[in-house]
Subunit: 106 residues, 2 copies
């Protein structure tokens, strides 16, 4: 539980990332982070929207971070690439403590 | 002051939008909204990052909204397009009330 569960958005179809998020939530994770940079940022937001509209109606966007990273391109030139990190959570807060039924994930 | 000052990100170079934001802030606006959809979302975040790194060091990201809009494509098919709205503010909070020195904007 110490590290946030990360879904890193890349070049795969959106549905792959939607499924990854749903799987993470279903395996009992409270918060997950969707992270993307550059052109994949659009896909990250598409993923969140698809989750909200279809799969997890109780989805909550907890926090959105914007940032940037230094990159070196193929031709050796340097530049900045923007990053988005979206922290998602589910609204259902049943009193399921961490110490309850750990047999499912163990 | 009732409507938020909007910078809508499109197909122009990033610097155009950076300049638009700086101009809005310099003309005395407290909050501005940067809005983009689809592929322009990446450019919106690039714009914010460029503002933060170079132009307005005291820039504050007040709120980020994600959403989606229905679109009809050229071929008549319908789909969804994701939207980002970033509300920016400047940290400087000198005690400048709204009723003070209105001659500048009037």
């Amino acid at each position: 539980m110490s590290e946030l569960n990360l879904v890193r958005i890349g070049k795969k179809p959106i549905m792959n990332y939607v499924t990854a998020c749903v799987t993470l939530f279903n395996s009992g994770n409270g918060d997950i982070m969707v992270r993307a940079r550059g052109q994949a940022i659009e896909k990250a937001i598409d993923t969140v929207q698809m989750l909200r509209r279809g799969f997890l109606k109780d989805l909550l966007i907890k926090k959105i971070n914007l940032g940037s990273e230094d990159v070196t391109r193929f031709d050796g030139s340097r530049g900045n690439i923007s990053i988005i990190e979206i922290i998602l959570s589910r609204e259902i807060e049943e009193d399921v403590a961490d110490d309850e039924t750990p047999d499912e994930s163990a």
